[in-house]
C-alpha cells in the first residue's frame, strides 16, 4: 500500500492542513514508510475476532436530564481569538 501525491493532498485537505508541493513530497515518503510498518498487520488472519474498542466490556452510563451548567461565556471567551457581541467571529461562511 503506498500513497500517491494526489492522495496525500486529498487527505491534507480533508484534515484542513495546508501542505506545499515540497512538503507533500516529503510527507508522502514518510507516510509510505509508516504504511509499510502497518502493512504487516494486514496479513494476519483475524477471522471471527470481534473488534475491541475498550478493555472492559461495559455499557454506557446515562446521566439524569438536569441543567447544572451556568453561563460562563465571559470566562470562556476571554481566550477566544475574535469575539464580538458575544459571538465567535470567523471568515464569512458561504453556502
Amino acid at each position: 500500500m503506498s500513497l500517491s501525491l494526489e492522495e496525500v493532498k486529498r487527505i491534507a485537505h480533508l484534515a484542513r492542513i495546508e501542505i506545499s508541493e515540497a512538503e507533500a513530497l516529503q510527507t508522502q515518503g514518510q507516510l509510505n514508510d509508516i504504511f509499510r510498518l502497518i502493512e504487516s498487520m494486514r496479513a494476519v488472519d483475524t477471522e471471527g475476532i470481534a473488534p475491541m474498542s475498550h478493555a472492559q466490556d461495559l455499557m454506557l452510563r446515562l446521566r439524569e436530564d438536569a441543567v447544572t451548567e451556568s453561563d460562563q461565556h465571559r470566562l470562556f471567551q476571554s481566550v477566544a481569538p475574535q469575539v464580538e457581541g458575544g459571538l465567535y467571529l470567523v471568515p464569512k461562511v458561504i453556502e
Binding site: V67, P91, E95
Partner: protein
C-alpha cells in the same frame, strides 16, 4: 410521457429535554448568544461527552410509538467534518447501529403506509449568523449539543402532498401524541430534509438531490414541487441529474445546489471512543411502554368495539383527553348503557366543560361517577330528568350519586300502585286529551304523560307511566 416522483424525508426532531445530549447546559431557546454553551459544548481541550438519559428515553418512546425495533445495543459514532458551528470538528451521531430500526406511520386516514428506515440520536450544531460583522460570520453555540432524533423514511412518498401528509403525521406523533418535542417550527424544533428524484414508471430509481432544512410544511411542499419540475425539465432537455445538496429559497420559491463539496461525503465515521455502547434493557423498554399514554390511534381502534354511530365515535376520539375519558367511562359498563353514557359525555359533560373552558381530563365528574349515575337511571332509581340534578350536584363537588338521590329525595316513583292511582287521576282530569287520543291523535298521549309526570313532580318512572297509561286507555 409520464414521470414518477420518489420522495424520502429525513426529519430532525429536537427532543424536549432540559439539558443537552452530552452536556448539562440548558436547551432553552432564545438565550443571549453563547450563554448556554458550556465547556463541553464549545469543545475546550480535554472535555468529554456524558449521555442524557432523557434523550434516550424519548428515542425509545418514539420507537415504540411507530412499531419499530428498539436496538438493545446501539453505538454512538463520530461524523467528522469541519464547519464553524461544529465545535469539535465532528458531530456525535449514530451510524451503523442506531437506537431504532424500522417502524411505520400511516397517512390518508390509514390508507397508505410510509415505512421508516431508522431513527437515531445525535447532537445539533450551533448557528452561523451571517449578518455582516465586517465581512465575518458570527457563531452562536447555544444550540450546539441539543439532542436530536433523526427520523429517516424509506422513499415511499410519490408526491409533495404525500410528503407533507407524512411530515404532518410525524409532527402530530412526536409533538401531540408522545410529546417528545415542543413542535415549535420557527425555533427549529422540527426540520425536514427531502430527498427527491424522478423516474419513468417501472424504471430504477433516479439520482436524487437533497433539499435541506425545510422548517415549514408550506416550504416543504413548495420546495419539492419546484425541485420535481426542475428535475423533469432537466431530464426532458436531455440533461442529467447529479447528486447534490440543495437549498430552498423561500423568497424565490426555487431550489439551488450548494457550492460543491467533493469531500463532503467522506465523514470517516467511527465509534466514538469517549463513549461506550448504549445498552437499553428489556425492563426499561417495558417500563417506558407502560408509562406511555395509549396512542390516539390505539384508542380510536377500541371505539370500534363499542358500535357507536360514526359521528359520535368521531366526536369521542377527537383528541386523547376525550378518548381517555370516554374509554374510562365505557370500561366496566354494561354494553346496553354505552349509548346513554356516550350521549351524556357529549351532552351535559361537554356543556359544563365548555362553560369553564376545561378539557375532559379536568372534568369535575369522573367516569366512575358518571357510570354509576347512568346505572341508576337505567335501573329505574331515578329519572333521566332528575339525573341532571344529581349530575349538577356532583359537578359542584358532591361525590356519591346514591347519597345525593337519597338526600334530595329524588328517587323515582316506580311503585305501580302509586302510579296507577296517579294515572287514574290524570285520565279523569283530562277528558279532552283522552278523547283526542282515542280518535287517533298520538300527540295527546304525550300530553297525558306530561300531566302524569307533573303530578309526580318529575319523579315518576316514565316507562312505567307510559305502560300503565296505554293499558288503561286501551281498556
Amino acid at each position: 410521457m409520464e414521470w414518477e416522483t420518489v420522495i424520502g424525508l429525513e426529519i430532525h426532531v429536537q427532543l424536549s429535554t432540559k439539558s443537552k445530549m452530552f452536556s448539562r447546559a440548558s436547551t432553552q431557546f432564545g438565550a443571549t448568544p453563547n450563554t448556554q454553551a458550556c465547556a463541553v459544548d464549545i469543545a475546550l481541550p480535554g472535555v468529554l461527552p456524558v449521555a442524557n438519559k432523557g434523550a434516550v428515553e424519548r428515542a425509545i418512546r418514539f420507537g415504540l410509538a411507530v412499531g419499530g425495533t428498539i436496538n438493545q445495543r446501539s453505538v454512538f459514532a463520530r461524523k467528522n467534518y469541519f464547519y464553524p458551528d461544529l465545535p469539535k470538528g465532528y458531530q456525535i451521531s449514530q451510524f451503523e447501529l442506531p437506537i431504532v430500526q424500522g417502524g411505520a406511520v400511516t397517512i390518508r386516514d390509514g390508507k397508505k403506509t410510509i415505512r421508516l428506515t431508522r431513527a437515531h440520536l445525535e447532537e445539533d450544531a450551533g448557528k452561523s449568523l451571517h449578518e455582516d460583522f465586517h465581512g465575518m460570520s458570527g457563531i452562536d453555540l447555544n444550540r450546539a449539543g441539543t439532542p436530536l432524533l433523526e427520523i429517516v423514511s424509506e422513499p415511499d412518498m410519490r408526491s409533495s402532498e404525500e410528503a407533507v401528509a407524512y411530515a404532518r403525521a410525524m409532527y402530530d406523533l412526536v409533538v401531540k401524541e408522545i410529546e417528545i418535542c415542543d413542535g415549535n417550527m420557527q425555533e427549529g424544533s422540527f426540520r425536514c430534509d427531502a430527498n427527491v428524484s424522478v423516474r419513468r414508471p417501472g424504471a430504477s430509481l433516479g439520482t436524487r438531490r437533497e433539499i435541506k432544512n425545510l422548517n415549514s410544511f408550506r416550504f416543504l411542499q413548495q420546495a419539492i414541487d419546484f425541485e420535481v419540475k426542475w428535475q423533469i425539465g432537466t431530464l426532458e432537455d436531455g440533461g442529467t441529474i447529479h447528486q447534490a445538496t440543495v437549498l430552498f429559497n423561500p423568497d424565490t420559491g426555487e431550489t439551488r445546489a450548494m457550492r460543491s463539496k467533493e469531500d463532503a461525503h467522506d465523514y470517516r465515521y467511527f465509534p466514538d471512543p469517549d463513549l461506550l455502547p448504549l445498552e437499553v434493557s428489556k425492563q426499561w423498554i417495558e417500563q417506558i411502554r407502560k408509562s406511555m399514554p395509549e396512542s390516539l390511534r390505539g384508542q380510536q381502534q377500541k371505539f370500534k368495539d363499542f358500535r357507536l354511530p360514526d359521528y359520535q365515535a368521531h366526536q369521542l376520539t377527537a383528541n386523547r383527553e376525550t378518548a381517555t375519558f370516554a374509554l374510562s367511562t365505557f370500561t366496566g359498563a354494561p354494553a346496553a348503557e354505552v349509548p346513554m353514557l356516550a350521549n351524556w359525555i357529549v351532552g351535559p359533560v361537554k356543556a359544563r366543560l365548555n362553560e369553564e373552558n376545561l378539557d375532559y381530563s379536568r372534568s369535575r365528574v369522573s367516569p366512575e361517577q358518571l357510570r354509576k349515575l347512568i346505572g341508576r337511571v337505567v335501573d329505574g332509581t331515578v329519572s333521566e330528568k332528575s339525573a341532571i340534578e344529581v349530575f349538577d350536584a356532583m359537578w359542584k363537588g358532591e361525590k356519591d350519586p346514591d347519597t345525593i338521590i337519597e338526600k334530595r329525595g329524588l328517587n323515582q316513583i316506580s311503585d305501580s300502585g302509586a302510579l296507577e292511582a296517579i294515572v287514574d287521576q290524570v285520565i279523569a282530569a283530562n277528558p279532552k286529551s283522552v278523547e283526542e287520543y282515542r280518535s287517533g291523535k298520538d300527540k295527546a298521549f304525550n300530553a297525558l304523560v306530561g300531566q302524569a309526570m307533573k303530578a309526580t313532580r318529575g319523579k315518576g318512572n316514565p316507562a312505567q307511566i307510559n305502560e300503565i297509561l296505554r293499558k288503561k286507555l286501551a281498556g
